[in-house]
């Protein structure tokens, strides 16, 4: 699995811990890594993904329906699952502010034996910056 994931586009390094079943993937500097592709590659190597967490830097954008998303590349963004943490980022929507967030992109459903590699990845925020930038506070 380590070799399989290491061959994926944008992957710098893969660390596998057999003891706790954790796989750490470090993207290449400025590399375009695709979490959905990683999920599929892991699935293809015969291993079930229970959870996938991501730490990313990006801009908060709001689509026409008013849903928030984290834009990590000009052509790649992840819809943000609404929760208390996402509310604190609403003031940053469509600004030029770059934030670093940690969130859960995928969690296996209890009744599913295998991960569904084709599932739409939504970002459930677990951690956001403690201090919202001053320019965003002025808007409120």
């Amino acid at each position: 699995m380590k070799q399989h994931l290491g061959r994926q586009s944008g992957v710098q390094n893969v660390e596998v811990s057999l003891i706790d079943g954790k796989v750490q993937v470090t993207p290449k500097e400025n590399g375009q890594i695709d979490p959905a592709q990683l999920l599929k590659a892991t699935y293809d190597s015969g291993v079930t993904v229970a959870e996938m967490d991501m730490t990313a830097q990006g801009k908060i954008v709001k689509d026409s329906s008013g849903n928030l998303a984290l834009q990590v590349e000009p052509n790649r963004s992840f819809a943000i699952e609404p929760n208390d943490l996402s509310k604190s980022l609403e003031s940053l929507a469509n600004s030029q502010t770059v934030v670093t967030v940690r969130g859960q992109l995928y969690k296996k459903r209890a009744n599913k034996k295998k991960a569904d590699a084709s599932v739409l990845l939504k970002l459930l925020l677990l951690e956001v910056p403690k201090e919202v930038p001053k320019e965003a506070q002025k808007k409120e």
């Binding site: 699995m1 954790k22 796989v23 993207p27 990683l38 291993v47 990313a56 296996k108």
Partner: protein, 36 residues
């Protein structure tokens, strides 16, 4: 002359700071099952 020097320093500063603020995925962690 002074302005050219300031401009050079500004370019150097921008070169150092811009990559740090770029949007990108920094790290991915997966918890997997069925690994042998």
């Amino acid at each position: 002359m002074v302005n050219a020097k300031k401009f050079g320093l500004l370019c150097l500063l921008a070169f150092v700071l811009v990559p740090a603020s770029q949007a990108q995925i920094k790290h991915i962690e997966m918890r997997v099952e069925g690994m042998t």
